[in-house]
Amino acid sequence: MKPGGILYMLGALFYFVLGVVYWFWTGEIVGTVGITLTGGLALLTGFYILFTLRRIGPGPDDLDDAEIADADPDFGFFSPGSWWPLPVAIAAALIALGLVFAVWLVIIGLGVLFISIYGLMSEYYRGPRLPEA
């Protein structure tokens, strides 16, 4: 993880320096804001990786003599399949259509969206058995 974090930080440094150079070279605002905040984009990810590294300590990918089996076996929980993204997408389509044609369609779309996000979110938190992860 450490080389990854450092790469992001180098990216941030590069864009911040570039932002300053661009400002003095052109004096143009849109590019300056864009380039500087691109540095922010890299900084956010880099900071998170390095901060997490400090919190959980060096992982197997930071050690030269680590084995595959040393890695944390818990990859996280992945849904084997779900129908709920479909109503979420239908709700998004309703809202988009409503913005073009009629406001009442937006209201219906928001209702469908809240219900379908709730369904997606609680899909694995219902029933007698709860997931371990």
């Binding site: 993880m1 605002i29 849109v30 804001v33 864009g34 905040l37 691109t38 922010g40 984009l41 890299a42 956010l44 990810t45 998170y48 990786i49 997490t52 959980i56 300590g57 992982g59 197997p60 990918d61 040393d70 890695a71 944390d72 818990d74 990859f75 996280g76 929980f77 809240f114 996000i117 709730y118 979110m121 609680s122 694995y124 938190y125 219902r126 709860l130 997931p131 371990e132 992860a133």
Partner: protein
Amino acid sequence: MSAATFQQSTHPTRASKTAVGTVVWLASELMFFAGLFAMFFTARSVSPELWAERTELLNVPFAAVNTTILVLSSVTAQLGVFAAERGDVRVFRNWTLLTFLMGAYFVAGQVYEYAELVHKGLLISTDPYGSVFYATTGFHALHVTGGLIAFLYVLIRSYQTTRFTHGQVTSAVVVSYYWHFVDVVWIALFAAIYLLK
């Protein structure tokens, strides 16, 4: 969940995929706000006299109080996350509820401020200042509202399940990341709109 498995699952050797994904998405959100900031500063540099005139309409003390509440809500959100990581769901709910109320107060304050400005004759279609002001603060308020809904879902799920699972802790953590992000963006927006007159 036993204490041993909880201990193990909160101290993994690799970063949570959900958390990394959220941070990468927040980085892309930063670029969305970069567009809004670029628009703001461009419009400001093109018509400085309009800015000098229009910023007189702003109620800075009111917005400052609102900002303080939003910043403090980030603190309560973090206290809630600490409680969630300890597995203390009761304390987590209380802090999250308080965060929700503070965020809701912020959005209500924004609505009040909009009503006041509309009353003074500043509409989104009035002039470039109106367009820029409502577009930047409006998109931010939409983000805050989205965060409020996310808090609500996390809260509802904590009541719905009999156990507070590790997955729920992850949800609480990533929603707090989002909340901190929206908070930091507001500090920058507040400085640009209300302080840089």
